[in-house]
């Protein structure tokens, strides 16, 4: 058994299925005028120090409707975070090349200037990262960091208005005592509390879209449940759209309306959440679901793995355009 051979294989049959699906999705997006965010045939390339370009995302299309929670799910290295970062063009400029189109409320993200982008970031589009500890400045109080976010985007507000919108955001993010949180420093908080602060900071300018990149992965399950509840309530009270990036199929099932399953920089399957779990069509999705140890019913002796399903569908086990894999495979066997 060779992990990376099995992990990275992409069956020929899947590729055909995928390209047919992509074109269908694009059509849907064209017709869906209500979509808040449209990503059309996005390709992202990164370069290394020797100016060699590697394609990370191979033509991804999806749309996010108003008030919708879209899940992007996949294993590490599948390009889900790269796709999400591309929505705000957060990748290092010199080493990144984009193709395709991303439109947010009809504005083409790739033709915006840096200044316009900055009003979008933390303004109409909020972003939550995986690790709340490294997202906050340890030398400033929570209040200082929240106030800065408000003043940058809404300079006309008075001091009192700034203060009250900070407190309102923290309250909406599930803080029981926002006033005292404002005076405290990040080290005084647990991981779950800090992630609430991050959610509050993302909410503070009333974004229309929230991008959450593995927001609960670093947290305990009990805390995770509380935060997922906060996000779900926010969607309801603020009619906000959420792009939720995760590798946890349980979180997807609990949270999302629609799901995009990504693998090796491509979308394997795109469907409403109930369809993905009840009738997964793509062998990769089937494998991903079967690999989760079941919480009810009989306990299996062995777990099925993704490779079982890819083998069934007649895949070749060749490595596929991944930098790390190349290192492993070009080394002498």
């Amino acid at each position: 058994m060779n992990d990376s051979q099995q992990e990275r294989s992409l069956p020929a049959s899947t590729q055909i299925l995928e390209s047919a699906e992509t074109s269908k999705t694009v059509e849907n997006i064209e017709h869906d005028a209500r979509a808040l965010l449209k990503v059309n045939n996005l390709k992202v390339d990164f370069s290394n120090s020797r100016h060699q370009w590697t394609r990370i995302v191979h033509g991804v299309s999806f749309a996010v409707g108003k008030g919708e929670i879209l899940g992007i799910v996949g294993e590490s290295g599948c390009g889900k975070s790269v796709t999400a970062f591309s929505i705000l063009r957060l990748h290092e400029r010199r080493t990144t090349r984009y193709e395709g189109a991303i439109t947010f409320e009809g504005h083409d993200i790739f033709s915006l200037g840096q200044k316009q982008l900055r009003t979008l970031r933390g303004g109409d589009i909020g972003f939550i990262f995986q690790n709340p500890m490294s997202s906050l400045n340890p030398l400033l109080t929570i209040g200082q960091q929240l106030r800065e976010t408000v003043r940058t985007h809404q300079p006309s507000l008075s001091k009192n208005e700034v203060e009250s919108s900070c407190i309102e955001a923290l309250h909406d993010a599930g803080s029981d005592n926002p006033e005292s949180w404002m005076k405290q420093y990040p080290y005084q908080f647990s991981g779950g509390m800090l992630q609430r602060v991050m959610i509050g900071m993302a909410l503070i300018n009333h974004p229309k879209l929230l991008i959450a990149d593995e927001p609960t992965t670093a947290l305990d399950v009990t805390i995770q449940m509380q935060l997922l509840k906060v996000l779900r309530d926010l969607r309801k009270t603020r009619d906000m759209s959420i792009v939720l990036i995760t590798h946890d199929m349980g979180v997807v099932a609990q949270m999302c309306d629609r799901v995009e399953v990504m693998y090796q920089g491509r979308i394997m399957e795109s469907a409403p959440v109930s369809d993905i779990f009840a009738h997964p069509r793509n062998p990769y999705t089937q494998g991903l679901l079967a690999a989760i140890p079941p919480m009810e019913g009989l306990r299996p002796k062995r777990l099925k793995t993704v490779s079982d399903f890819l083998k069934q569908s007649g895949s070749d086990l060749s490595p596929h355009g991944n930098v790390m894999d190349h290192a492993a495979f070009t080394a002498k066997e």
């Binding site: 058994m1 060779n2 992990d3 990376s4 099995q6 992990e7 294993e75 590490s76 991981g191 305990d220 399950v221 009990t222 995770q224 449940m225 997922l228 509840k229 779900r232 309801k236 590798h247 946890d248 199929m249 349980g250 979180v251 997807v252 099932a253 609990q254 999302c256 959440v273 109930s274 779990f277 009840a278 494998g287 991903l288 679901l289 690999a291 989760i292 140890p293 079941p294 919480m295 306990r299 299996p300 002796k301 062995r302 777990l303 099925k304 793995t305 993704v306 490779s307 790390m324 894999d325 290192a327 492993a328 080394a331 002498k332 066997e333």
Partner: protein, 275 residues
């Protein structure tokens, strides 16, 4: 049924305090990480220790592995109390029998040494095998048993994926033929499909080498798959213990119930949160 068998490892009411001194003052604060925990491990059985971060599950594992000494209480392996063993005695009697695999497969290996070196070193320290070539045979054999190919042994850690590296770490732990393997969040950092492969491998190896596992994790779905008995830790105390079926079907404490109901179920028809 279990009561009649003899435990190969007994943990008798261990307590561990971590003392923190102030930077300037002499004032001390005591953190009780593990509080009066007792458990038993039986041959060819998997005991899962679950709990939230900071509940003391890793500290318990480290004490059993003799990486940490308890403040009070004893740990007994095969009728021998090794709580106060010297480093020399530990190496002679315990290290070869109790091994550990950690969470992060990358940081567990020296990036400048080949995996052959990593696995071979364990044999050399334990003085297993007559000569180099005999040890090398044992390394190749173990590498193949964990599902890697013998041609890979001259590679460096960066040339492997996370799942492959965790197999290397398992090989390194098992090459000295221990009786007990402590798995501290060993599959938590892996993708779900790779996690399934490594869990299957662990099940196979357990049979092949008649191992006992102490499986430390926060992921209850993995526990249900792999464990025979489960202990639930909270703030350093063992709040509940039982067979997998007892814990999952009839949890006795509110804490365990809360823990179980917090796992996101991968089924959109059963939403745990009201919309």
């Amino acid at each position: 049924m279990i009561g009649q068998r003899k435990a190969i490892l007994q943990v008798n009411s261990i307590t561990k305090d971590f003392v923190r001194r102030g930077f300037t003052s002499r004032a001390q604060t005591v953190m009780r990480a593990v509080n009066n925990v007792s458990l038993q491990l039986f041959a060819n059985q998997t005991y899962a220790l679950v709990g939230e971060s900071g509940s003391g599950k890793s500290t318990t594992g480290r004490i059993i592995c003799a990486l940490e000494r308890p403040t009070s209480g004893t740990v007994v392996f095969n009728d021998e109390n090794y709580t106060d063993f010297s480093d020399h005695l530990l190496r002679q009697k315990i290290r070869g029998n109790i091994q550990m695999v950690l969470q992060d497969p990358f940081s567990s290996l020296n990036p400048r040494k080949t995996i052959e070196h990593a696995v071979l070193e364990a044999l050399e320290i334990q003085k297993i095998g007559k000569n180099h070539s005999e040890r090398l045979d044992a390394v190749v054999d173990m590498i193949e048993r964990v599902g890697l190919s013998s041609g890979m042994i001259n590679r460096y850690p960066h040339q492997f994926s996370g799942g492959q590296l965790q197999r290397v770490n398992i090989a390194r732990a098992l090459v000295v033929r221990p009786k007990i393997l402590i798995l501290d969040e060993s599959v938590s950092a892996l993708d779900v499909s790779v996690q399934a492969q490594v869990l299957n491998l662990l099940q196979d190896l357990k049979q092949e080498f008649s191992l006992s596992y102490l499986f430390i994790t926060h992921d209850l779905s993995v526990v249900r798959f792999i464990a025979d008995r489960v202990g639930v830790l909270r703030k350093g105390e063992l709040v509940e213990e039982g067979t997998v079926d007892e814990i999952f079907d009839h949890p006795q404490t509110d804490y365990t119930q809360n823990l179980l109901s917090s796992i996101p179920i991968p089924n959109p028809e059963h939403r745990q949160l009201a919309f």
